[in-house]
């Protein structure tokens, strides 16, 4: 049995992002909204401990927030006498009346908050920080820890972003139809960046940070509730579910990377795979046509196979999907993945020919992935001396400690 303060704390954590989103719309001020939400929570701690948790905690919080907001604005007016502040009071009284908050309106507020936090006029790193802080409800310290940034620096990043929203007047609204797909893409980029930072940490000693992956999946689920039927949102959720389903098999007890072909597939999260697989057809049907859906389809082919061998994994179709992806979104990393899939389907020599083309075009020259992939294929062709040289080159370029250990292991497996 959990204690009352714990239940209150949890209720508040669940309700806060919803309440905050509406407060930001009505008050048109992130900081004031956060202060008011904090006031309402303090009042809840006190009163819920005595009276118990109300039947509709959100309505209670709105009613309380309304009083607290008016108090705070009145105090401000004493100093400034501003017309704008008086106008806000009118809005608070009419828009925050408590019980009659329309659920649909509240949902729209959460969606508006996504679009404001992920506005392209903000730097990408600030978009991510603000989304995790405000939409996901993480504390500034939690966001700082997730991105290995000192808390003070993260707090400044968030303060600067909120100041730009206020001073440049970045709107709090759902973009019009003609801009919607571009703006949704920006929101999805922030969610996926959160996920990839958790799934393949670019720095630090661990490969997977599960908390970030879970947070990104939670955001995508929320987004799909708010924007149902969109292929891009569905595609991203499916992709993350399928990639994340392998998390327990991807790293061994020592924190070392386990490659797809060596993973113990019984460790894959079946429930998450089933959920992801069910989403893929909707994602592919769109609209709009999108790269997340294609990537989810690739992940689905892996998820459906019992081993990574040519007998059970449909590598030819995976190679074909990478080709579609490369046409949609030309990138050297996609070409590289395609080459690996072709090597699995048609043999290492065919894959190596594709990698030669990527190298000849001068792409990915500073990245460890290219020499590492070449080394793998050269080793399978028995060209050990060349493979060794490529692994050495990859080791010079790699940053993540676990990826380094993987490369060292492969180098050692070539023998003396």
């Amino acid at each position: 049995m959990r204690s009352a303060p714990e239940i209150i704390e949890q209720t508040y954590r669940e309700e806060r992002p919803r309440v905050l989103a509406t407060l930001i719309r009505v008050l048109r001020d992130f900081d004031l909204a956060e202060e008011v939400a904090q006031d309402a929570f303090a009042a809840a701690l006190e009163q819920w401990a005595v009276d118990g948790i109300p039947d509709t905690p959100a309505a209670w919080l709105f009613r309380t927030a309304r009083h607290k907001a008016i108090d705070r604005i009145r105090r401000r007016i004493k100093f400034t006498e501003k017309q704008a502040e008086l106008a806000t009071i009118v809005d608070v009284e009419s828009d925050l009346s408590g019980d009659e908050q329309e659920p649909a309106l509240l949902e729209d507020d959460r969606l508006r908050l996504f679009f404001t936090c992920c506005h392209p006029a903000l730097p990408l790193e600030a978009q991510v920080a603000l989304t995790l802080r405000t939409v996901a409800g993480l504390s500034t310290d939690e966001v700082a820890a997730a991105f290995l940034v000192p808390p003070v620096a993260m707090a400044q990043r968030i303060v600067r972003a909120k100041a730009k929203i206020r001073d440049a007047r970045i709107p709090f609204r759902i973009p019009p139809e003609e801009a919607l797909t571009d703006r949704v893409e920006a929101v999805l980029a922030v969610v996926y960046l959160t996920f990839t930072e958790g799934y393949a940490a670019t720095s630090g000693d661990v490969v997977i940070r599960k908390d970030l992956c879970a947070e990104a999946i939670r955001l995508a689920r929320l987004l799909l509730c708010l924007l149902p039927g969109r292929g891009d949102v569905t595609g991203l959720l499916a992709l993350m579910l399928l990639q994340d389903s392998r998390r327990n098999a991807r790293v061994d007890a020592d924190g070392d990377i386990v490659l797809l072909e060596e993973q113990d597939r019984s460790l894959w999260d079946r429930a998450q795979i089933d959920e992801g697989l069910a989403l893929v057809p909707d994602a592919l049907r769109g609209p709009p046509p999108n790269a997340y859906a294609i990537q989810a389809a690739i992940a689905a082919l892996h998820a459906a196979a019992t081993t990574a061998t040519r007998e059970t994994t449909d590598w030819a179709q995976i190679a074909g999907l990478y080709e579609v992806l490369a046409r949609m979104n030309p990138s050297a990393v996609i070409e590289l993945n395609r080459a690996v899939a072709v090597a699995m389907a048609d043999g290492p020599a065919a894959g190596l020919a594709l990698l030669d083309r990527v190298e000849a075009e001068g792409r990915l020259v500073d990245h460890h992935l290219l020499p590492a992939a070449r080394a793998d294929l050269l080793a399978r062709l028995g060209r050990t001396v060349e493979a060794r040289a490529e692994y050495v080159q990859a080791l010079e370029r790699v940053n993540n400690a676990a990826e380094r250990r993987l490369l060292l292991r492969k180098l050692a497996s070539l023998g003396p």
């Binding site: 506005h119 006029a121 001073d167 440049a168 007047r169 970045i170």
Partner: protein, 118 residues
Amino acid sequence: MQYLLIIYGEEKAWSTMSETERGKMMADYGAFTKEIIASGHFKGGNPLQSISTATTVRVRDGKSVLTHGPFAETREQLGGYYLVEAKDLDEATGIAARIPGSRVGSIEVRPVQPMGTM
């Protein structure tokens, strides 16, 4: 809220345009300016003369120091501006995207701080 839409572009590009291209650009600017006057967004704006006419003033130790040329030598130069009234940043960037110069150069969008609030 007022925003200053600051038009940057390569002066060289202008001088290397053909007569027809230049005529089209002028006509596009004329049409755009008429549109935003009619819609009520226009508060002011002008093209600037060439950077060869620019003089930069600094006062150091109480003494005016004049140098010829713009504040900074960059690939793109300040060529003109519009002052517009817009309800938020999205509306302001939407107007900026319609400035003909945005197709060849860049438009910086800056909210104006009203004098009384400084």
